[in-house]
């Protein structure tokens, strides 16, 4: 049987209070007050759709055997590269094997569920054992706009396969319709949105019921037997009315997480699904549906194996790892929506040598170093000659993954001179407990948490943006654990 083998999720820890937007921009757009409740998740300056996808995927792969993954699908409408496989980058960050299929699913808000359907079809076809599907979004809007409040940033990840399934696929149903609540032209930065009342009446209220009732019919399922319905809808009243139209009771509807995170684009149906899986019981039937130019709806039934899944952060862990933020201008600066003076020091050449990047890909994207097969010393970066004094073995290094190794701070500083979007720049020497050390940037850093000996976790983040050439460079950073 095909289904979900594992799941994971990630929301950035920053939660912008919507009232902060109102307080800054209400003079211009007083209507914002109607949406200025609760908070939205916000990518830090060094996070984007790829980095949060990596974080969600790593969460999903806790305790899993990565060698079984035969394909990686990444769904998003806000990926950093228009022509460079973002899914391929995701696979490299996870240090998956090279003999692998990969594809980006994009251009519609239902891309997350569409990728999920495609992944399950792939698994059922039998050629590929496991497929990793990750959906993530980090959407930009113009300032002082309801969507700026409704949107959040987040990612979710599902591992699909036929063995050790924690939720079995009972069926899926898809509807494709060129219904355009908003669009974004190929080279545009922002969406162009049509009236919400029309989106509600002609879109949400008709297309979701069409897809979900189609699914129920196809699988011979009575709506009353479904434990949870997971579908995004940022219009609060409409969210409940869709379930009513389907004959479902309010308690059968998974909350849309508007109050605590906002709607995270293509990732949102998967985020809602993961949140339900975290508390689901064996036997529960769960429907997940996405909405874009049409809708995909999938029905899963939770199995006994869900009890054996190793502990992960998931949506609940992400929600708990929360840092409230009141300052709206951080959203503008982190997303480069305002131009600020950064000083001449910032005018530095940051061209990426693509040939170097390819040679160093295991280190840069995968955070893979080496371990000397003669003396056993882990070291990063891996070099041809072993670093251990007295060893000096040549070409003795085998690949060694550092990203999940326990580590702590050996030295650090908080630097006010270094160019930073959120000064001071924290960095220092990170020492891995089983061997190896590296001078690394710190991120998601609270000044009080930084001290020699404090444990850190390693996370994949943006390192630089080459504005002249439109290239985003990534590397791994350390997050001090308070």
């Amino acid at each position: 049987m095909a289904g979900i083998v594992s799941f994971g999720a990630y929301l950035p820890r920053l939660r912008l209070e919507r009232m902060g937007i109102m307080q800054s921009m209400g003079w211009l757009a007083p209507g914002l007050i109607t949406a200025a409740q609760g908070e939205r998740s916000l990518c830090y300056w060094d996070e984007d759709a790829l980095t949060i996808a990596v974080a969600a995927s790593r969460d999903c792969l806790v305790g899993m055997d990565k060698s079984k993954i035969d394909a990686v699908f990444l769904a998003s409408t806000s990926l950093p590269f228009a022509d460079r496989s973002n899914a391929g980058m995701l696979a490299a960050t996870l240090n998956l094997k090279e003999e692998l299929s990969s594809a980006d699913f994009t251009s519609t808000q239902k891309a997350g569920t569409t990728a999920l359907v495609a992944a399950l079809d792939t698994v059922r076809a039998g050629d590929k054992k496991q497929v990793l599907v990750t959906a993530s979004d980090h959407r930009l809007t113009k300032s002082s706009w309801f969507y700026e409040m409704w949107f959040g940033d987040g990612a979710a990840s599902l591992l699909l396969g036929k063995e050790n399934v924690i939720a079995e696929l009972l069926g899926s149903h898809a509807v494709t319709l060129d219904f355009v609540p908003h669009y974004r032209g190929s080279h545009e930065k922002y969406d162009y949105n049509w009236e919400e009342r029309w989106i509600r009446d002609e879109g949400y209220m008709k297309i979701y019921p069409q897809a979900i009732s189609g699914l129920l019919k196809k699988t011979g399922t009575n709506i009353k037997d479904v434990a949870k319905l997971c579908y995004p809808c940022f219009l609060g009243r409409a969210h409940g009315e869709i379930a009513k139209a389907l004959g479902a009771a309010p308690q059968q509807v998974a909350g849309n997480m508007h109050a605590e995170a906002g709607e995270c684009g293509t990732a949102h149906p998967l985020i809602l699904l993961v949140r339900e899986l975290e508390q689901a019981k064996p036997g529960d039937k769960i429907i997940v549906a996405g909405f874009g130019q049409g809708s995909d709806a999938l029905l899963f039934q939770v199995t006994d194996r869900i009890k054996d899944l190793p502990k992960r952060s998931g949506v609940s862990g992400s929600l708990a790892r929360r840092k409230p933020e009141k300052t709206y201008t951080k959203l503008l600066k982190f997303n480069e929506l305002i131009e600020t003076e950064m000083g001449i020091r910032a005018e530095v050449s940051n061209q990426t040598a693509l040939s170097t990047l390819f040679r160093d890909r295991k280190l840069i994207l995968g955070f893979v170093g080496g371990r000397c097969q003669k003396c056993g010393t882990p070291q990063i970066p891996s070099q041809r000659i072993c670093v251990k004094p007295g060893c000096g073995a040549v070409d003795s290094q085998e690949d060694y993954e550092f990203a999940d190794q326990p580590a702590k701070i050996l030295t650090y500083t908080a630097d006010m001179l270094a160019v930073s979007v959120d000064p001071p720049a924290f960095y220092g020497m990170v020492e891995f407990e089983k061997g190896g050390r590296m001078m690394m940037d710190f991120t998601d850093c609270d000044a009080k948490a930084v001290e020699v000996g404090v444990p850190v976790k390693i996370t994949f983040r943006k390192k630089y943006f080459d504005r002249e050439r439109g290239f985003t460079g990534y590397f791994w950073k350390a997050v001090p654990q308070a």
Binding site: P389, T413, D415, M416, L417, Y427, G428, F432, M439
Partner: protein
């Protein structure tokens, strides 16, 4: 069997430009300023110089590639000239090249000149390298600054010796306070103002825990030396001959940066390099025998921990020596008598030779208001790079035969 450099090379003359924000001069004019003083001091015509070494570090904001700027500026007669760069040890490297040429017998008289023009970048601090740091390093190194790099010594030093933040900050303030006192006496220094401990402690933080006054000046300047054999120096009529006692370098190999042993609190290279330098110079008890030092005080914390790596203060004992005034001009082993990098300034390529210039003046009794009583050995030290990956150079000079 190698016998080392001791007493094989004499300094025939030295020169040093005024350091500072030399808006009036480019690197070429600064080289001429140092060279004219040096040539007059040496008492020779420039056509006697048979080979030259040029030290300059930040090529993209300075003289650029190749050694050509030196013979072009000084109008040297088609002699061999080599440009060297080795982070902050660049000046000492140029000096080493010239000394080795003389010691080998390849030439009789050689010139070493260091120069740096840092103040044409348009902003404070050292230039930001970006991808010019090297395509691979750029992809993985943090956007690290010099103060941020060295500030980390403080975090590890505090952790290792369980020192509270304020006690270390006070000792660091004393390090800078002392150098400002000395720099005020030096007409060629970049920063010539005494400042109080309170001012230092209250200065804005640059890289925690280092404040503005924990950081050395970023300066333009040039310094040079003409070297020859002691015999030729005598033949040219020199009476007080200053000779080279030791010239050592030690470079990191990845041990500090990649192997889990070093604790981040000191300089492995300086520890090794100083031991070799004392041996080469025949010094057994450095705390007693070394008369004065110019060390690489790019930041106050660098100077403090270097006192231990030079085997002058015991491990964990530098704070006590600093607070006791042991390194003050009136103390047991005066350090940074000319103001140091802190106040004389730090035009990278020139700094090593500028340190030797002060030792040379002191040994000849020409240091004016800063003159120490009867010094015998002067030690200079440079530390280029980062605490975890660096180039250390040490030179010791003294009276010939001492």
């Amino acid at each position: 069997m190698a016998t080392g450099i001791r007493d094989k090379v004499a300094i025939l003359g030295m020169g040093c430009s005024r350091f500072g924000e030399r808006w009036d001069m480019g690197a070429e004019e600064l080289m001429v300023e140092a060279f004219l003083e040096c040539l007059e001091d040496a008492g020779i015509e420039k056509d006697k110089i048979e080979a030259a070494w040029l030290g300059s570090a930040m090529i993209f904001v300075n003289v650029g590639l190749s050694a050509l700027p030196l013979p072009m500026a000084l109008r040297l007669p088609n002699i061999p000239v080599t440009r060297v760069e080795n982070f902050c040890a660049t000046g000492t490297e140029a000096f080493r090249g010239a000394c080795y040429a003389v010691a080998s017998g390849a030439v009789d008289i050689a010139l070493a000149l260091g120069v740096e023009k840092l103040k044409d970048t348009g902003y404070g601090g050292l230039p930001n390298m970006g991808s010019n740091a090297g395509p691979s390093r750029f992809l993985q190194m943090p956007n690290i600054t010099a103060p941020g790099s060295f500030a980390q010594l403080a975090s590890a030093y505090r952790a290792k010796y369980k020192i509270n933040r304020d006690d270390l900050k006070k000792a660091l303030a004393h390090v800078s306070w002392k150098s400002h006192k000395n720099g005020a006496l030096n007409p060629k220094a970049h920063l010539r103002k005494e400042i109080s401990i309170e001012q230092i402690m209250a200065s804005p933080i640059i890289a925690d825990p280092l404040g503005l006054f924990d950081c050395c000046g970023v300066s333009d300047g040039s310094a040079c030396a003409i070297v020859t054999t002691p015999q030729i120096a005598k033949d040219l009529g020199k009476k007080d001959i200053i000779s080279v006692k030791a010239l050592q370098l030690a470079l990191s190999n990845g041990y500090e940066a990649q192997y889990n042993e070093w604790q981040g609190d000191h300089f492995v290279t300086t520890d090794i390099c100083s031991g070799r330098a004392y041996k080469e110079a025949g010094i057994r008890e450095p705390r007693e025998e070394v008369s004065m030092m110019e060390v690489h005080d790019c930041f106050s914390i660098t100077e403090l921990v270097t006192m231990e790596d030079l085997h002058i203060s015991p491990r964990g004992g530098a704070i006590k020596d600093v607070m006791d005034g042991f390194y003050d001009r009136e103390g047991g082993l005066p350090c940074q008598v000319d103001g140091g990098l802190k106040c004389f300034g730090h035009p990278i390529g020139a700094s090593g030779i500028r340190m030797l210039y002060e030792m040379y003046l002191q040994l000849l009794g020409r240091a004016g208001k800063r003159q120490l009583k009867d010094p015998k050995f002067g030690l200079t030290h440079n530390l280029g790079g980062f605490p975890f990956m660096n180039v250390c150079s040490i030179a010791i000079i003294g009276k010939y035969g001492a």
